[in-house]
């Protein structure tokens, strides 16, 4: 079988096998908001909408109002090179539309540039004392290497399929600047991955059976919880925040499906300063994740830093350092509709500068 068509078949079937280890499990929350990504992912001291429940539930009581968020959200992640490729498929583009639907053209594209795409959706209600939410996140990263791991051309597939529900509770400790929060999680996860030597007929053949493929992406399930604490010192012009977060307290064991790694307990801290007027705020924050080095996390991935500037409560811009690379984005709040965009670079492995992806994120949320 033509390797090009084999790859196309793999892509169209969404098929993977387990065992791929190219993508390092990152330390971002399993669900991360676009505006928080734009601010370098430093979300322990300030997070957006449903992201609060998973970034640090101790943030829930500090907004000053009872209601936090009710609504749903959709975000699309796609790498820059794939956006460029998609443009060539548009009618009227210089490449014409003749390539549309031509999987070999897509395969050619993949052999020139990696392909990353993902979606995430959520539906949640949060108030100052807790909340409930449901989320789903799917992401696939497809990279063809002319010189694969064995020297022959190879296609490296890695995916993340995370979905689940959360139940959060939070409260201030009376007469102190402290608040505490906890988020219980029910997770359904699959992290399919494969390195396929396209010259090896046996390796390619296993991806031609849809039944076998669907069995390979059966999710693992598990329950766990995160605990967060926040010290919030509010001033007339300047606020200070210190955060401590323990993700997956005691470890979150995953059962069934493809035996993917359990989530280890991770301890992180964050610090922030917010300059504000009555309507505008400038939030500068730094997070240090995985203090105990549970995942042997390199410093560039463990350090998140960023700035969020919110104007009149209706608009925000953000910038930061995510995975050691600059990130930026903006958000517009139209009362019942929030629209956000962000761009960031993500390092696929734990080695800086070896395999980055330039990712664009577009986000739309309906709620208040």
């Amino acid at each position: 079988m033509d390797p090009a068509w084999s790859i196309a078949a793999i892509i169209s079937l969404g098929g993977f096998t387990t065992g791929g280890t190219a993508i390092a499990r990152d330390l971002s929350p399993i669900y991360e908001e676009t505006f928080d990504i734009a601010a370098g992912g430093a979300s322990l001291t300030r997070a957006t909408r449903y992201g609060v429940a998973l970034a640090n539930p101790a943030l829930l009581p500090v907004s000053g109002s009872f209601h936090r968020w009710l609504g749903s959200e959709f975000a699309l992640h796609i790498n820059k090179e794939s956006v460029d490729y998609a443009k060539t498929l548009l009618p009227g583009s210089s490449s014409g539309s003749s390539d549309s639907g031509d999987s070999s053209a897509f395969v050619d594209h993949v052999f020139q540039s990696p392909f990353l795409a993902g979606t995430q959706t959520s539906l949640a209600y949060l108030n100052a004392y807790g909340g409930i939410g449901f989320f789903s996140r799917f992401e696939v990263d497809l990279e063809a290497q002319e010189y694969g791991p064995t020297g022959m051309p190879a296609v490296i597939l890695n995916g993340k399929s995370y979905s689940g529900g959360t139940l959060s509770g939070a409260g201030k400790i009376p007469f102190t600047p402290f608040s505490l929060g906890v988020t219980g999680k029910y997770l359904m996860l699959a992290e399919p991955g494969a390195a396929i030597d396209v010259a090896d007929p046996n390796a390619v053949a296993q991806f031609q059976d849809p039944a076998a493929l669907s069995a390979l992406v059966t999710p693992s399930t598990g329950t766990g919880f995160d605990i967060g604490a926040l010290m919030f010192i509010q001033g007339p012009r300047v606020d200070w925040r210190l955060a401590l977060k323990v993700d997956d307290v005691g470890g979150t064991r995953l059962n069934g499906g493809d035996a993917i790694d359990d989530f280890k307990q991770v301890t992180s801290i964050g610090a922030a300063m917010t300059l504000h007027t009555g309507k505008d705020a400038l939030h500068v924050s730094v997070d240090k994740r995985d203090l105990q080095n549970a995942y042997d996390t390199p410093p560039f991935k463990a350090t998140r830093a960023g700035v969020k500037l919110t104007l009149r409560g209706y608009a925000g811009i953000a910038a930061g350092w995510y995975d050691g690379y600059p990130s930026a984005g903006a958000e517009l709040d139209l009362i019942f509709l929030q629209i956000g965009v962000a761009t960031y670079r993500r390092e696929i492995t734990g080695a800086p500068g070896v395999n980055p992806r330039n990712v664009y994120v577009m986000n739309m949320a309906a709620g208040f």
């Binding site: 002319e146 020297g151 410093p299 350090t303 350092w321 930026a328 670079r345 800086p352």
Partner: protein
């Protein structure tokens, strides 16, 4: 204090528009983030991803010299040699499954470096690099390359060996149909073909035909076409190249 924070924030807001390096790369560029040194294999992967084959070659040669028992690096170095020779492995794999070519020279023509615009010395250097690719894989233990080998690198090594043998045979044959002084095809060059040259080419084709891999079939049919002459290897090959 507020001015400092504001300046810091503005710098943060501005920085995404400049620079593409990772803060974690060595030497360290930020006092906030310790740099993370790359392992040898990570350096090799980065060089390959950036298509910097010269660097990949140096790193792989050094790594193999330091750890000769790490057999997984041999097929990778072999592929790098072939890449430096101008050989497009990906293209040949696509061609082998879709082409109806009956001759190895026809099949390889599109994927081997053309002698046009190249001096004889440059062309010889590329042939030598393919020889290095073959030698690298032949340096692996026989049991590693055996069909029954379960090592994950074995299949790649065997396939590459057959491909590079066929490719080198094809490049050798080109030497006797091309005049480097005039820069054009010249069947008269066949007269320079010696028995030794013929033996080398036939040996490579024979190895490619029996070793398996995507070029085995076409190498075997080319051998059969050459041997149909019924004479010596040299005469048969000369007839084949002249036809």
């Amino acid at each position: 204090m507020r001015m400092r924070v504001l300046t810091f924030a503005l710098v943060f807001l501005a920085t995404p528009s400049c620079g593409t390096g990772n803060l974690g790369e060595c030497p360290a560029t930020s006092p906030l983030v310790k740099c993370t040194g790359l392992t040898t294999d990570e350096k090799i992967r980065r060089a390959l991803n950036e298509e910097d084959l010269d660097t990949a070659r140096t790193l792989l040669e050094d790594a193999i010299a330091e750890e000769p028992d790490n057999y997984g690096r041999y097929p990778l170095l072999s592929a790098v040699y072939a890449g430096l020779a101008g050989f497009k492995l990906l293209a040949i794999l696509q061609q082998s499954s879709s082409s109806g070519s009956s001759s190895i020279t026809d099949a390889m023509d599109a994927f081997l470096p053309s002698p046009q615009g190249m001096s004889r010395e440059e062309y010889d250097a590329k042939i030598a690099l393919l020889g290095d690719a073959i030698t690298t894989i032949n340096a692996l233990p026989a049991e590693f390359l055996a069909t029954a080998s379960t090592d994950k690198y074995a299949a790649s090594a065997s396939q590459q060996l057959g491909i590079y043998q066929a490719a080198q045979a094809s490049m050798y044959m080109k030497l006797f149909t091309y005049d480097f002084t005039t820069g054009s095809a010249d069947p008269a060059q066949i007269s320079q073909l010696t028995d030794q040259d013929a033996a080398r080419i036939m040996g490579l084709l024979s190895a490619a035909a029996t070793g398996g891999g995507p070029m085995a079939g076409i190498a075997a049919s080319t051998l059969a076409a050459i041997n149909a002459g019924g004479g010596t290897d040299r005469d048969n090959l000369a007839n084949f190249l002249g036809s």
